[in-house]
Amino acid sequence: MEFIIAPLIISILTGILAAIISITDKIVNNYGEITISINNGKKEIKIDGGENLLTTLSSKEIYLPSACGGRGSCGACKCKVTSDVGEYLPTEIPYLTKEEMKENIRLGCQIKLKKDISIEIPDSLFNVKKYEAVVEKIVDVTHDIKEVLFNLGNEEINFTAGMYMQLCIPPYDKIKNETQRAYSISSKPSDKHHIELLIRLVPGGIATTWVHTYLKEGDKVKLIGPFGEFEATPTNSTMICVAGGSGMAPFKSMLYHMYENNINDREIWYFFGARTKKDLFYLEELAELQEKWPNFHFVPALSEPEGEEWKGESGLITDVLDRYLKTIINSGYKEGYLCGSPGMINACNNVMTANGIKLENIYYDKFA
């Protein structure tokens, strides 16, 4: 009889505990109807409390940027909260500067809505939309990077070169919940019916595994955006751009947009770092652009070119950058543009500031 009693007792016990949790959740987490006032009452939303601000706003089609989908690990969903929502949580503090905290900037995914709340968000976020797109083309540009072209159909999108979109990943395999990930747009802003993303496979990554393994041409997907403030400034200073891997995306968009719109009087140096030749891509396209555009200089560099026929620059991209800044590009007013991992951005920041580029003139798109 024991083989029946043991599972039965365990089942009953866990069932009782689960019921208590559910009942407590229903009673305790019932905060009734609350009002979210946005931008001094410009828009007011009435919702049921209990959820976090990020999720609640997105359910009403107002999308705060979020590269991690609300897990509190990217720090992107910042917004100003002008009413009292309590002290800063330990999960928010690492993502906020002292200045931001003085201005009551909070992380949307960490604010639980328990009472009426007033927030301020940039007006541009009202233009952020959810797009139902169809995958038109998938191209393997390297062994681990795919160029994915999404067709937005009749919908139009207006974005600035350098901005990013959030790709909605549906549940698949063992992943039970929909999640979102941010990817820089690599297509030109003039193509208003397409969005192109460069997606590098991260081993074990939820989104990139889905894109590389499951996503097929003809599939329907959801995209939210555009977001971001990474863009070329309207100055004449020399642009020093540095990227590696899929960090190519915003620069591809920016460069083709600038060339297309005759913004070609400023000097641009684009350093693209990779380990070996098989990690390089768009070499021909960028070489062709360089030929047509005298002010544009493309410098691909390999950190591990051993045993390969390679005539370009060798060494870590930071060393190559340092060499160029000390010799060839050692005069004039310069701005830094970086896209890549936090480690690469910090290393390039150090090289740029050591070579006279002010920190406030370095702009970056950091992978979360």
Partner: protein, 197 residues
């Protein structure tokens, strides 16, 4: 048969002579990682004490009214873990609603405690030592306070060590482990006063 020990004696013994951290070395991972900051140590200590006392009391009821009558003591590990996980969930929701300031103090530490071995250890001790319900309450509360005391002491010492000329090779976890060793030895000094097993 329950041991004939006064609950008051058990309470003080579990704080000092049988400190769950420094005598049994349970709950070491969060003890080492969180003790760098006094505020976090305080929050974690408070959370461990609350969860430890409540889960020990619930597990005592489960042991004596479910596991022993149905001869299912061999299932105690899984049952204790399930009870601890559920209690932490319910406690988190209740504290968040009823006392936002306490929730702020405990913050992210409550869910972390689900996997704290001191919590499971105390539930197992009350079963092995066959404590009564009152003994369990006093022992568990004392064990929580003992854990809290130990982590506060370590974080205070760590604050001093931060400005001390520690040899480079010992900085960080090295000097922390040596400090814990000294603390354990200091607590052994209490062991002649109350002997409780």
């Amino acid at each position: 048969m329950s041991p004939d020990i006064s609950p008051i004696v058990l309470f003080f013994a579990s704080i000092f002579t049988s400190n769950i951290l420094l005598a049994n070395f349970l709950g070491m991972c969060s003890f080492i990682s969180i003790s760098k900051d006094m505020n976090s140590s305080n929050g974690l200590g408070m959370a461990v004490t609350a969860v430890l006392t409540i889960t020990a009391a619930i597990n005592w009821v489960v042991i004596n009214y479910i596991l022993i009558p149905f001869d299912l003591l061999y299932l105690r590990y899984i049952v204790f873990i399930v009870v601890i996980a559920a209690t932490v969930q319910i406690l988190e929701m209740l504290i968040d609603r009823l006392s936002p300031s306490l929730y702020m103090a405990l913050g992210i530490f409550l869910p972390l405690i689900t996997v704290n071995c001191a919590i499971l250890g105390v539930s197992l001790f009350i079963e092995i030592r066959k404590y009564t319900f009152i003994q369990t309450l006093f022992y568990a509360f004392g064990a929580g306070l003992g854990w809290w005391l130990a982590i506060m002491l370590l974080s205070a010492i760590q604050k001093k060590i931060a400005n001390a000329p520690v040899p480079a090779g010992l900085k960080g976890p090295g000097i922390t482990l040596i400090t814990i060793g000294f603390m354990a030895m200091a607590f052994i000094g209490f062991s002649g006063m109350l002997i409780v097993q």
